[in-house]
């Protein structure tokens, strides 16, 4: 499962609309335990596409999104049993 999500996220980073990658990231964090790679994908998205103008001046928006999704998903996973 982890490997499949990693491959899917690499493909989405290079070829798919950003929102597809964002949804995949949520799914991966919810379904895979401690999916730390999510944050790495956020950093890579910033490295690939961000500029000094960023998003309203903030150039690490993808990293921040990945961290928030990772933390929320970890918290939700603790309270749920799959």
């Amino acid at each position: 499962m982890r490997l499949v999500f990693n491959i899917a996220l690499i493909v989405s980073l290079l070829f798919l609309p950003w929102w597809a990658g964002a949804l995949l990231l949520i799914s991966a964090c919810m379904l895979v335990d401690r999916f730390f790679e999510a944050i790495l994908f956020g950093i890579l998205a910033d490295a690939f596409y961000s500029t000094k103008f960023g998003f309203h001046g903030f150039s690490s928006a993808a990293t921040l999104y990945a961290i928030v999704v990772f933390l929320i998903a970890s918290s939700v996973r603790k309270r749920l049993s799959w």
Partner: protein
């Protein structure tokens, strides 16, 4: 627990490298990624041509007639436009203000909506003479952005419609510059006094000797209780369907 701490430490290191040395990862990863992007363009091109082949002949004939009529109409407009362009160039040359551009064509490898930041990744870089700050044009005359990062064989273009980015523009026949703010995806917003006469479809230009098309007014929102009007305009080119752009390598002052 140890594995978690190790992962967090590794991510912190990776984030710090990307934050303090923003060119480090792209300069290593772009040569790898550009191979995939080029392969993707070729594959998509093959599928598109296959899809065109299996289209019905009737729809092709109809489309052909429609396009022929459009081309004929545009050719008539072009006659006037090229005459005006020649006259403008001659006047600028006589006044010693001829615009000398040194353009290079770049293929787009990644564009919105793949890029969440309204950026383009081009297949040309410092080896092609591209430098940071070079202006980027689409479909000839439409200014869409400028080069923000350059690597050996690739470059990153920041579009002017990047959310939060501001630009000084001229709207309609007005000669008063006003500030437009990017809203993403080739869309912009600006505010003008409600008394300024403006209509949908008006041209938005950049101030300068050689005027460049920047956008077309799409919607005007006027609140009867407000003294300002909000103008929404968009770039005349569809950024998500662009395949090539031109980069002006003229050294900037």
């Amino acid at each position: 627990m140890f594995a978690t701490a190790l992962s967090v430490a590794a991510l912190l290191i990776v984030f710090s490298i990307n934050h303090f040395f923003p060119a480090a990862f792209p300069s290593v990863l772009f040569p790898v990624a550009s191979g995939f992007w080029r392969a993707e363009s070729a594959t998509v091109g093959w599928f598109v041509s296959m899809a065109e082949i299996v289209q019905s002949k009737y729809s092709l004939v109809t489309e052909n007639r429609k396009l022929s009529a459009e081309i004929a109409a545009q050719n008539r407009s072009m006659l006037l436009l090229s005459a005006l362009q020649s006259e403008n160039d001659a006047l600028l040359r006589d006044l010693g203000r001829a615009a000398k551009g040194d353009y290079v064509l770049g293929a787009i490898m990644a564009r919105p909506p793949v890029s969440p930041y309204d950026t383009l990744i081009l297949d040309i870089g410092s080896s092609d003479g591209v430098a940071v700050g070079d202006k980027v044009y689409a479909e000839g005359d439409v200014l869409v952005g400028d080069v923000s990062d350059v690597f050996s064989g690739t470059s990153k273009v920041s579009l002017f419609s990047t959310p939060g980015r501001t630009m000084s523009v001229l709207v309609g026949s007005s000669t008063v510059a006003t500030e437009a703010t990017g809203k993403g995806g080739g869309n912009f917003v600006l505010t003008l006094p409600a008394t300024t006469p403006l209509a949908t479809g008006a041209l938005v230009r950049l101030p300068g000797v050689k005027p460049h098309t920047f956008g077309i007014v799409d919607r005007i929102i006027v609140d009867s209780t407000d003294s300002l009007q909000t103008v929404l305009f968009r770039s005349p080119v569809n950024l998500s369907q662009l395949e090539f752009v031109e980069v002006d390598r003229t050294p900037h002052k």
